[in-house]
Symmetry: C2
């Protein structure tokens, strides 16, 4: 609920003639929809978290019923919205150029397709023992498939809309759809944590740790009452849908961020559809202008990381004492990768210290959300790292694994910090070639018509060696472009390299935890220090945010790459 | 990190001439200080939460050492700030009229004095067994006393400052002081939860619930190694400081909100010291203009509530089967109180539907923070209520206590929702007598010079029965005031009554949980449904926010009372 009702300088011009159509109090409408969302979300949160604990008499069918109802309602509202905007041409007078960029919508479609495959697997899995199963368990993936298709189409066509009819209803509808996505995310995260705990329990079945969930009765109910999954096809379905969970999780989060931006844009007034800083990159520059060092190094790390991940998974799940070796390999790779990323992010920030592009101060809900999410999601990994540091420093055993764990935690904090600083600074830079306007001493050298070229060198704030192409009558803007081009070039190439390198590293660091690497539990330092139940609570709550951070950083770095 | 860098219309005039002194990128400086604060806070959070669990090898002396260091550093920075602003007269060119209102500063001083008394008690308590105690346990309350005195003076004189020198250093210093206050708050909340768990354990010592904390060894260490608190004076000190904890908690939170507003105001440019909507109330109107119904009813509820609280505490701590009766009395009083508050808040919102005062759209960090805190802190009580509802609805036993619990939880949600809507709408109203400027159809009837008085009635949007005092030549503004006065009067009186009533009710609803009423555990519905450890985690995390909500609502309602 930030104070944004005073329109910025770029937005005020159209506000005066259209004052009649403007809301008296925008925050009032927002307040109502936020209250609706908060209440629905808390109810879902209660049921989902209650369903995760086996001592509590809330069952997964209750959760499925709630989610199915929410998805049906949200789909109905989306259809109503699409119908209305098609029939009323004045409903969307403005479109926000920053909202729903192509990489976000592309990612949404990609993850949406994977979610559909997951729904097919889930339906197949539950159909294997149809007779002894509650009908809601088959209805749930089918409803989810419908919901994903409707929502993806809706976000593809409408994510840039600034709608101006039925403001309160639209806000409530958007918030409800957002809440539905967050509830699906929570359910998926909890389901995965329970699954992880189950596999941890089965591998440590001789230990007497406290268990978060899954006593035999509950484990029995999750594979279908008194039936069990014995056929080969059923096993494949079960394995398959657990590997597709990460995509479903990312789909929900991508959809949530786009819905939030749409919600912020309801009733918003923009100067025109060709907004001053549209940041639309030229298609030619997309696939050139890198030094190739960044992508090549990034790809190498990616391949090595995949190999390390597979070795780790094989050695951890294998019987015998290879655990120590697997952890050393895993931590060593992570330390090298995080160290390189920290250095590269730092050098990116150093390059910006020599960059004279203006900061972009325009209102931009998409960017504000990106910054808030980067900072907020990093908290998850920060928290895990600080708990690890305290455990290693205060705990007694000092061995190689403890040292690696400490270095890993410290570098994780440094890497998140410097990467966030780099990304946030990048997102706030103006488009390439834009010089600061507000520093008055530099103004004259751009406004000159270059009548006296020698005088140009004596002006303050002008580049000392402008490579002017004679005195042929080019317009002043072109001349400025020629002056600026050689200086900006190596910096831009470097920045593009840096963003590609960081992007690839973030992808591999997303894959590892998203597909099940849990050195937090294989490594016994923290489990012994905090006890299993406390450490499991910390990791299971914080790690989903850490995983989300990686994917969100990838989408932000793609934006940085395109814009720099 | 909201988008506020585009200055509002009221703020832009002075920004142009002083553009040279303006920061290039305000968010960059904020980013650095937020990163500092997040890291310090997470480190403190790790140590404090680790110290609360007896299985973890982090001891309370570690936490005390960290807090003492933080308080010393923060005090040093505050002294440096005070010295610098005294010596450099240009450091604070503007003062924010909204920041640090007198009731917030008064509350701060009041809670600060109580904290000093608590520190005296704590020092006395730990001095009783000085020889077998770590020195840090006596150093900690002494440092806290110094810190409270320095910080209270600092906030009293500087809370309105918009400082314009050493921007980044000031931001970091303010954020560090804010973090210190939040760490003190966390430590106090955790300490109180452990104390509550201890007293719960000693009263249920025959049950075999899982315990959050406090095994005999830890309990022994908290009263001083191998010594024990046997003397009468030591017992008094111990009892006393536990009863003064709530004031220390509120002190930290009040200081945090004021520091946050100061942080938002660093480097801010304002139009002038006499800001357009200063909202300074006339002293005459402060103590009149109520219908007396609100304060009288509120005082009655306050006294009855105090009696109910004392009865509840006595009956719960007494031996024997009076628990059921105590809970029935407690819930009945709460249901009546919450029901009345809901109705009164609703009627306040209805009154606003007939109110034609303009909405205040000016940028106001204090108000933005108030709204965010009201909405955020309400989440704590919402969460507890939803967990209670699920436990009662899904759980099997249907008796009187279950019904009362359900009604209580539902009314709690309704009361928080409607009270928030009422307060937030009140805070956004313009000063009394200000009519909307932006609705063009209503404009002519105020701009008229009243040449033809009969025509006035036919204009849309004008009051139908203006009591004009003849046709004597009063200026148009005075005439408008006369027209509006009788209409505004009863509404203003009603609003003042409503805010006073809600204020008194919030005070009594703050006293009950803050001084130790925990029907959540006396009542066995949720404990049986969720298990003790899960329910204790939910209540111990969410209830501090619920308690903070009450005190914050009191300060906001005081503002509503003064302004309406």
């Amino acid at each position: 609920m930030s104070e944004e009702s005073t329109p910025g300088p770029k937005e005020s011009p159209p506000a005066q003639p259209r004052a009649g159509s403007r809301e008296v109090w925008k925050k009032g409408g927002r307040l109502l929809s936020v209250l609706l969302a908060v209440n629905v979300l808390l109810l879902a949160c209660t049921l989902i978290s209650g369903g995760a604990f086996n001592k509590v008499a809330v069952y997964d069918t209750d959760v499925f019923a709630l989610l199915t109802t929410m998805m049906l309602l949200a789909s109905l509202w989306i259809l109503f919205y699409l119908l209305r905007t098609v029939r009323c041409p004045n409903a969307v007078p403005y479109r926000d150029a920053h909202a729903g960029p192509i990489w976000l919508r592309g990612g949404l479609v990609l993850f949406g397709i994977c979610t559909l495959v997951m729904d097919v697997f889930k339906t197949g899995y539950y159909s294997s023992f149809f007779e002894c199963q509650s009908a809601i368990k088959i209805l749930h993936p089918l409803t989810q498939a419908v919901f994903v298709i409707v929502q993806t189409y809706f976000l593809w066509v409408s994510s840039k809309d600034c709608i101006h009819v039925h403001l309160d209803l639209t806000r409530c509808g958007l918030m409800f759809t957002l809440t539905t996505n967050l509830a699906i995310w929570m359910a998926a995260v909890v389901d995965e944590s329970v699954h992880q705990t189950h596999s941890y329990d089965s591998s440590h079945s001789n230990t007497s740790h406290l268990r978060l969930a899954l006593d035999p009765e509950r484990a029995g109910s999750s594979v279908g009452g008194d039936c069990s999954c014995n056929t080969a096809i059923c096993q494949i379905f079960q394995q398959g849908y657990f590997y597709l969970y990460p995509f479903n999780i990312e789909y929900s989060l991508f959809a949530s961020t786009m819905l939030y931006v749409m919600w912020k844009n309801v009733g918003r007034l923009l100067a025109s559809s060709t907004h001053g800083h549209g940041h639309t990159p030229s298609r030619v520059s997309l696939f050139r202008e890198t030094l190739f060092a960044g992508p090549i190094l990034g790809l190498m790390l990616f391949v090595v990381g995949l190999a390390v991940f597979i070795i780790y998974e094989v050695q951890v799940s294998a019987e015998g004492g290879r655990l120590q070796q697997a952890l050393v390999i895993y931590y060593s790779f992570n330390i090298i990768c995080l160290g390189l990323m920290t250095l590269v992010s730092l050098s990116g920030s150093v390059i910006y210290r020599f960059d004279r592009r203006a900061m972009d101060h325009h209102k931009n809900p998409t960017r504000t959300l990106d910054v808030a999410l980067l900072m907020g999601a990093a908290l998850g990994q920060y928290a895990i790292s600080y708990y690890s540091i305290v455990a290693v420093v205060v705990g007694t055993p000092r061995d190689l694994l403890g040292a690696l764990n400490l270095a890993h935690a410290l570098l994780m904090i440094a890497q998140h910090t410097f990467q966030n600083v780099f990304i946030i600074e990048s997102l706030h830079r103006g488009p390439p070639g834009a010089e600061p306007h507000d520093t008055t001493p530099k103004e004259p050298c751009h406004g000159l018509t270059f009548a006296n070229l020698d005088a140009l060198h004596t002006l303050p704030g002008c580049p000392p060696t402008p490579r002017l192409v004679g005195t042929n009558p080019v317009g002043p803007h072109e001349a400025v472009a020629i002056i600026l081009a050689p200086r900006g070039h190596w910096r831009r190439r470097c920045l593009k390299d840096i963003s590609l390198f960081l992007l690839l590293c973030n992808v591999i660091l997303w894959i590892m935890p998203a597909f099940g690497a849990r050195p937090h539990f294989s490594n016994t330092v923290e489990v012994d220090f905090y006890g299993y139940s406390l450490w499991a609570a910390i990791v299971n709550i914080c790690l989903p945010f850490g995983i989300f951070y990686r994917m969100h950083a990838v989408s932000s770095l793609l934006e940085v790459y395109v814009l720099s």
